[in-house]
């Protein structure tokens, strides 16, 4: 597993360099500065990337299984809303508890009921949204994020924003899990061939449920951080993270059909997506152009290394 850096990671990394260089050329010409390669800018981007990175990290676990979780959008929002509503010391446990509960429901739906994850998590997403509308009356929640949540998202006792540290800790834990523990091996095995894994005497249902729980808890944690960052929870705060998270995982070289992918790719994919969005907005690209470029980049990256094999029976 510690072999040379794999191809998707390498290509995505070089693409990051290209984005930064192109952006720098642009700012040097138009504004006379090199914003994009200043450490302050890059650190700021990393701080923003942490939110997406944590969501993508969890998403990667279910994509490795060959499934997907479309409920992260409202898991993020539900965790943040309940945490801010409860407040105090219980804010964080409540938020993470939301993640645990959602993950269990998703996992049971996929592992026991065998409903395709895409449609089941879609339903869970709708239920979560409904719950939040019921609780908040459809208005922006009034309660503020707790001091601890704000500190967790924006404090920087070590010189680097805490959110980045949280992302780093999560990443280290997931890399450890994927490469060193049996559970990690089982995730890849289920993603490649669930029948063979089952017949190898492995409880594949537990693997499925565990992965969905990890995914939802990551989303819940991201929700807490985002609420801390903006010092509030708000309706639909997770919607902007669902598709970019999937894109980050896939651009990072994880096969959407499951079974293949390295965690390093997901980190690079996340940074790529965040930088792309940032550079385009600094370059005052209108939203229309940003969307088009965003889509083109995903397609081009996958054409370079994500092509499947031809069907030959």
């Amino acid at each position: 597993m510690l072999k040379s850096i794999d191809r998707p990671t390498l290509i995505a990394s070089s693409f990051i360099v290209i984005i930064l260089l192109a952006g720098t050329v642009y700012t040097v010409i138009t504004q006379g500065n090199a914003t994009f390669i200043e450490p302050a800018y890059l650190l700021q981007q990393l701080k923003i990337a942490a939110f997406l990175g944590i969501v993508a990290a969890g998403m990667m676990m279910v994509i490795l299984l060959g499934h997907i979780d479309l409920s992260v959008a409202w898991t993020i929002a539900a965790s943040a809303m309940l945490a801010t509503a409860v407040g105090g010391a219980w804010a964080i446990p409540v938020g993470l508890g939301v993640g645990l509960a959602v993950g269990l429901v998703n996992g049971i739906g996929v592992a026991f009921l065998r409903v395709p994850a895409m449609i089941f998590t879609l339903g869970v997403n709708a239920v979560l949204r409904g719950l939040m509308v019921m609780l908040t009356g459809g208005f922006a929640p009034q309660a503020d994020a707790t001091k601890f949540m704000i500190w967790l998202a924006t404090g920087r006792p070590l010189g680097i924003a805490n959110s980045v540290l949280v992302w780093a800790v999560i990443s280290a834990a997931l890399v450890f899990m994927l490469t060193r523990t049996p559970f990690g091996r089982y995730i890849y095995a289920v993603g490649n061939r669930e029948a063979a894994t089952y017949l190898s005497g492995i409880n594949t249902r537990l693997v499925l449920i565990g992965s969905f729980v990890i995914c939802s808890m990551c989303a819940a944690l991201a929700g807490l951080l985002i609420a801390g960052y903006s010092s509030k929870a708000f309706q639909a705060m997770g919607d902007a993270y669902l598709l970019p998270a999937i894109a980050a995982v896939v651009v990072g070289g994880t096969n959407i059909l499951g079974g293949q992918g390295r965690y390093s790719g997901t980190i690079v994919g996340t940074i790529l997506i965040v930088l792309l969005q940032s550079v385009l907005s600094v370059a005052q690209m209108p939203e229309a152009g940003r969307q088009v470029i965003y889509g083109l980049v995903i397609i081009v990256m996958l054409l370079v290394y994500g092509r499947g094999s031809v069907v030959r029976a």
Binding site: R114, M118, I299, R307
Partner: protein, 355 residues
Amino acid sequence: MNNLRLRFSQNTGLWLGVALFVALYVFYSTLHPKGWSVDLLVQNSNESFALIMVSMAQTVPVITGGIDLSVGPMMTMVNCLASVLVSGSPLAIVLGILACLAAGALAGFVNGCIVVFGRIQPIIVTLATGAIYIGISLFLRPSPGGKIDDNLSWVATNALAEMDSTFHWFAGGAPTWFSHGPGRLPVPIVLIVLIVLLVWIPFRNTVTGRGCYAVGSAEGAAYMSGLRIGRSKIAAYTIGGLFAAFGGVYLALQTGSGNADIPQAGAYTLNSIAAVVVGGTSLFGGNGGAVGSVFGALVLRAISFCFRVVDSNGPFGFLGNPLLQPIFEGVILLLAVSLGAARVFRVKNRLSLFT
């Protein structure tokens, strides 16, 4: 008779969808304070048209075993395009509508080509092209607005009889057989029937269209049988784009404007997947059909209609609470998609769960 029963049993998903819709709609119209009326039907069908089209658009790629996350964005893009093109002289309007439909089909064609020639998973392709189509929508219509021909808007969203009073088909006024008979039919329903009869049914009965089912059922076997699987897949996404375009044009007529509404596009895409499943099409591909999805979409719409009419003072008054509607919709959706799980508990060979 035996064959009839066979056909019925092969389409239980569709019939479940139909039955669910009929039950919900009867419930809704009996509870409605003014009772069932043509006006109500017109209103309901207007509200359902775009979702029905987008669900049909989703169905065809799903039959091939793929998925199209760009149906909402394609609809939005065509909606914005229509707000630019569909006004002016009658000829300009006709050409404008044709251009809108062509644009939708082209967008679908692009999806299909990337899936087939780029050999990338459909879910990712359409995720990316969806962003592109949203970008184009924003480019066409940075802020909501635009102009749609008023007469056309009026007739497209009312009963057929209004078409006559606007365009004066019958010299000296409509005969009673028309104004009291077919004239009372809402135009959107007529349009849906026409689209199903003139686009979907013929497509399904071509070799390419049936190839979509074959590819979704067993791609390897389809290849071995000498089918052109690439052609079928591209056709599936193209016709999906065309259906989405119908929805986009109609949305423009209904709202009188174009709006590059990103959350709305996402909601349509997600609801289309739900509608496809409720309408009896398997997400694994190979079976189902667009007619089922019409009813799947109607079921989703009927659910939200029902919440409007619950007596807020009655025993089930809490159902009428608008704040509770989203959660009931979600729970019903979740229950509907979990119905298929009954199969899981009847399975005797657990290996068959993993296919």
